[in-house]
């Protein structure tokens, strides 16, 4: 019988940590965009220089690869803290058929 909130499985501490990657998605609002850069409001901050992909749900969903040029905190209309991020667009990707689970 397992108890809720208790660990059930044996854990294994790796003697040598293994490198890997996380892919995290956030819903953001686009404030401005032009050919060269884009301003978005994100619930999470990004580091300057970080490379990200923005998936835009247009008629044909597309991905835009960008680099974070600026990230400043901002208070949204509902009082929540958001982060205004300026992305410099590096490349407009092709059609994005990502399903949200990496099985593109």
């Amino acid at each position: 019988m397992t108890i809720l909130g208790r660990r059930k499985h044996v854990r294994f501490l790796l003697a040598q940590p293994v490198e890997g990657n996380l892919r995290v998605r956030d819903e953001v609002a686009i404030e401005e965009r032009n050919e060269h850069d884009m301003v978005i409001l994100s619930p999470e901050p990004c580091r300057v220089g970080e490379r990200v992909t923005l998936e835009i749900p247009d008629d044909v969903p597309r991905g835009v690869n960008g680099k974070v040029a600026e990230c400043r905190p901002s208070v949204a209309g509902d009082g929540a803290i958001r982060h205004r991020i300026r992305l410099s667009i590096e490349r407009h990707g092709g059609d994005v058929v990502q399903t949200g689970d990496g099985r593109s």
Binding site: G5, R6, R7, K8, H9, V10, R11, F12, L13, L14, A15, Q16, P17, V18, E19, G20, N21, L22, R23, V24, R25, D26, E27, V28, A29, I30, E31, E32, R33, N34, I40, S42, E44, C46, R47, E50, R51, V52, T53, L54, E55, I56, P57, D58, D59, R62, G63, Q98, D101, G102
Partner: protein, 144 residues
Amino acid sequence: MSQGQNGNGRVGRGVVATLVRSIPMRLVEVSRGGCRFECSSRLESGTHGVLAVELAGLMRIDDFRVARCQLRMGAGPLYQVGAELLRTRRLGRRTVRTAVAKIFGDGRGIGYARGIVEGSPAAGKEVSGRSVSRGPPATSDDGF
């Protein structure tokens, strides 16, 4: 590209998009239900995403949800994250859960697992990643 956009480049309210971030991490501890890893970005509890790590020569992918995230003191901007491995994918051979079960045993009565993690990219060759099993603790908050 012109959805909700006026002449001066401002976009109307309500135009949403998905920001996809790729965050490098180091897997420190695993179990069939969760894992602990280190990364340089703070992740809010409840954040979910996809974890990809190479174990035993295969790229293993699983969905995860962050249970806790703590700054590792004295290590610069390094966060320790406890995450739950979500059972949203079929338990195929390329999932982290399968790798844990296969490499380290399923934890049934194994007090000290001698898990050998082969082909880890950390070393670029076969790695003798000896793993010490830890029994479930007496108390815990959530998942991991």
